[in-house]
């Protein structure tokens, strides 16, 4: 029997999903739905926009207004949706390659504008849909089909990138720390501005296998052992931080929201009509 959450928020006729056994994407997708459910937002008022890749297929499974766009462009489409109808809660579902390689420009500019969109990056450190090529978040030295000798590309810290670009809510969760993931997505949706949530997900099929990370369970255990709550992280020494990463709410700031600013401009000009 599917859970009430699945019955209420998933298009059950489109299931089963395409993800591999052990993939973390289902956990992140559930966390997004749970956050929306906790906030009691009517389904008609939610618009999910996704790009291309494994994670972006989530949009089709969810019973909201859903827009599965071109590779890297989810945030650009979402900007049009949000500006055209600011009443919609716009949530972007994207992957590490989609958001930070081909779509990296849209990410930094959406953050710069502080447009009220919540972006959840399913970061599995690999291009999964195309069979395991290295992405901007593949850790340096790790292997991929296009990095057979180990990647020499330094990897992005997406939260630092989003924060520097101007996002007003920045957080990280993992597919192990599900409660934290739900909580930060919920806070992100509630934040009136650009919210960025990095959800560390697992890809045992490509990233895990190439890098001898063990089973899906082993990979989730790794997230349990290496993700440290930000409050504790701040008290750690530089030596203690090596190999670990902070999770939870990382940054918040007060900035003007883009669509509100545009509405103020319209109001200040006084509406003229050509009818």
């Amino acid at each position: 029997m599917p859970s009430e959450l699945i019955n209420n928020y998933f298009r059950t006729e489109t299931l089963p999903h395409i993800w591999c056994p052990g993939c973390g994407n289902g956990i992140v997708t559930r966390a997004i739905v749970k956050a929306i459910d906790n906030l009691n937002i009517p389904k008609d008022d939610v618009c999910i926009v996704s790009g291309i890749g494994c994670s972006s297929r989530a949009a089709g499974y969810l019973d909201f207004n859903t827009l599965h766009t071109t590779h890297g462009r989810a945030l650009a489409f979402a900007t049009g949706v949000k500006l055209a109808n600011p009443k919609l809660h716009v949530i972007v579902i994207t992957g590490d390659g989609d958001a930070s390689a081909i779509g990296g420009n849209h990410l930094i500019h959406s953050a710069r504008r502080n447009i009220d969109i919540t972006t959840v990056v399913f970061n599995n450190s690999i291009y999964g849909m195309t069979g395991g090529q290295y992405s901007p978040t593949t850790p340096m030295g790790d292997k991929a089909t296009t990095a057979p000798y180990g990647s020499i590309d330094p990897n992005f810290d997406l939260c630092e990138l989003a924060n520097a670009a101007g996002a007003t809510y920045v957080a990280r969760g993992t597919v192990y720390a599900v409660n934290i993931l739900e909580k930060v997505i919920q806070e992100g949706i509630s934040n009136k501005g650009f919210s960025f949530i990095e959800a560390i997900a697992t890809c045992p099929t490509y990233y895990g296998r190439k890098n001898k990370k063990g089973s899906a369970v082993d990979m989730i255990k790794f997230l349990k052992e290496h993700g440290v709550m930000y409050t504790a992280w701040q008290k750690m020494s530089e030596d203690e931080k090596i190999g670990k990463f902070p999770i939870g709410k990382l940054y918040t700031k007060e900035r003007k929201e883009y669509t509100e600013q545009y509405q103020m401009l319209i109001d200040s000009l006084g509406k003229e009509s050509n009818q």
């Binding site: 298009r11 006729e13 489109t14 389904k43 008609d44 008022d45 618009c47 926009v49 949009a59 089709g60 019973d63 909201f64 207004n65 859903t66 827009l67 599965h68 766009t69 071109t70 462009r73 650009a76 489409f77 979402a78 900007t79 049009g80 949706v81 949000k82 500006l83 055209a84 109808n85 009443k87 919609l88 420009n105 849209h106 930094i108 500019h109 545009y262 401009l265 319209i266 000009l269 006084g270 509406k271 003229e272 009509s273 050509n274």
Partner: protein, 379 residues
């Protein structure tokens, strides 16, 4: 009372767009289309609409597609290199059946080319720029007044056929200033996308109802919660790998345009009744061609001009009929012979077809057309 204005072509495009109901513009600065963005930025907020300058050309078309799905008539404008960058998402708009207008004020190329000398080099890019098999609507006016009316037509067709419509301009007509009487244009009919009326509980987002050309189109947030994707999809809107679903969808997308040519295709015939020769020409260059026709007639040559305003789908029937009537067709265009290929295909040997083109950044003036045709006829 006449409401006379001296208006630039790019300006007339924005005025026509607002008349048609444009309430969203997203784009990226590029000459010679920039005035379209500038005037949209100034006017749209006054009409309660939205303008946004995006971070790149790709985002410019993507945001317009998103805004259209959220219910606003949307436009983006660009030139040469920017038009190349927009192509992937034009294909998305075709596949997902999203009405938008994409203006391409053509400039010389390839690449940065001769910034920003005039050209008609995007005729084939407009047709085949995006990958995969598809049909497309591309319109090409030739005067400031016609830019105004054709922009409205572009919006109307995009709404009616649920498809991106390309409005081709060129540097010459985009920057040219002419007299326009807004009073005589104020009653042009406006077409708005047909929306579903909520009746049955099983809403099929991509089902074409009997008697309709395209699926009805609600906006995001109106309670239909439909799915939009660039993947092949069935009537539900959800992806499918089924061959018969793909066959049905892709052919429907092509045929909704090709089967309605009599509604979409627009053209001008100039002094063709008794002609032995014809020029086919469009946009700014058709104005040189028209002068050449007048001068050649003064010299006793029976010649006229056929001017496609709808470039794609091409006026196949009309050009074929013309080729049965005349001895020779001259395709005069500011490129190396792009529409020439289409005319040759249509004519299929029913008369001789010759091309006159130029790709050095200079315009084609009447005298060179006259010389070319006279040399050809008297050779």
């Amino acid at each position: 009372m006449a409401e006379l204005k001296l208006m630039q072509g790019n300006e007339a495009c924005v005025m026509g767009a607002i008349h048609a109901g444009m309430r969203f513009y997203s784009g990226y600065p590029i000459t010679p289309s920039t005035e379209i963005a500038e005037l949209s930025a100034e006017l749209l907020p006054k009409y309660g609409g939205k303008f946004i300058q995006m971070e790149d050309e790709i985002a410019g078309v993507a945001a317009a597609l998103g805004a259209s799905l959220a219910g606003l008539k949307s436009m983006t404008a660009t030139s040469g290199p920017g038009f190349s960058l927009k192509q992937e998402n034009i294909g998305y708009g075709i596949m997902a059946e999203i009405p938008i207008v994409i203006v391409d004020v053509q400039r010389s190329g390839p690449s940065t080319g001769l910034p920003t000398s005039p050209s008609q080099g995007d005729i084939m890019q407009a047709r085949w720029g995006t990958h995969g098999d598809h049909s497309i609507i591309a319109l090409y006016p030739a005067s400031v007044k016609e830019i105004y009316t054709t922009t409205i037509k572009a919006f109307n067709l995009s709404e009616k056929y649920r498809t991106p419509v390309i409005l081709l301009l060129d540097e010459i007509i985009g920057h040219m200033r002419e007299k326009i009487d807004l009073e005589e244009l104020k009653n042009i009919e406006i077409y708005d996308r047909k929306k579903p009326t909520k009746s049955d509980d099983k809403y099929l987002a991509y089902k074409v109802n009997d008697g309709d050309i395209v699926p009805e189109m609600p906006s995001f947030g109106e309670g239909y919660r439909f799915h939009v994707t660039g993947l092949v999809h069935d009537e539900t809107g959800f992806p499918s790998n089924n061959e018969s679903v793909a066959d049905k969808l892709l052919n429907r997308l092509i045929n909704k345009i090709e089967d309605n040519k009599q509604d979409i295709v627009n053209f001008e015939e100039y002094l063709l009744e008794d002609s032995e020769y014809a020029i086919i020409s469009f946009g700014a260059i058709s104005r040189s061609s028209k002068v050449a026709v007048d001068k050649l007639r003064e010299q006793g040559i029976k010649i006229g001009m056929f001017r496609p305003i709808t470039i794609w789908p091409s006026p196949e029937k009309e050009i074929s009929e013309l080729s049965k009537k005349v001895k020779k067709i001259y395709v005069v265009e500011l490129n190396a012979g792009q529409y020439f290929l289409e005319v040759q295909r249509i004519v299929s040997g029913q008369c001789e077809v010759r091309k006159y083109g130029k790709i050095n950044g200079d315009i084609i003036v009447p005298q060179e057309i006259i010389s070319f045709i006279k040399e050809d006829i008297y050779a």
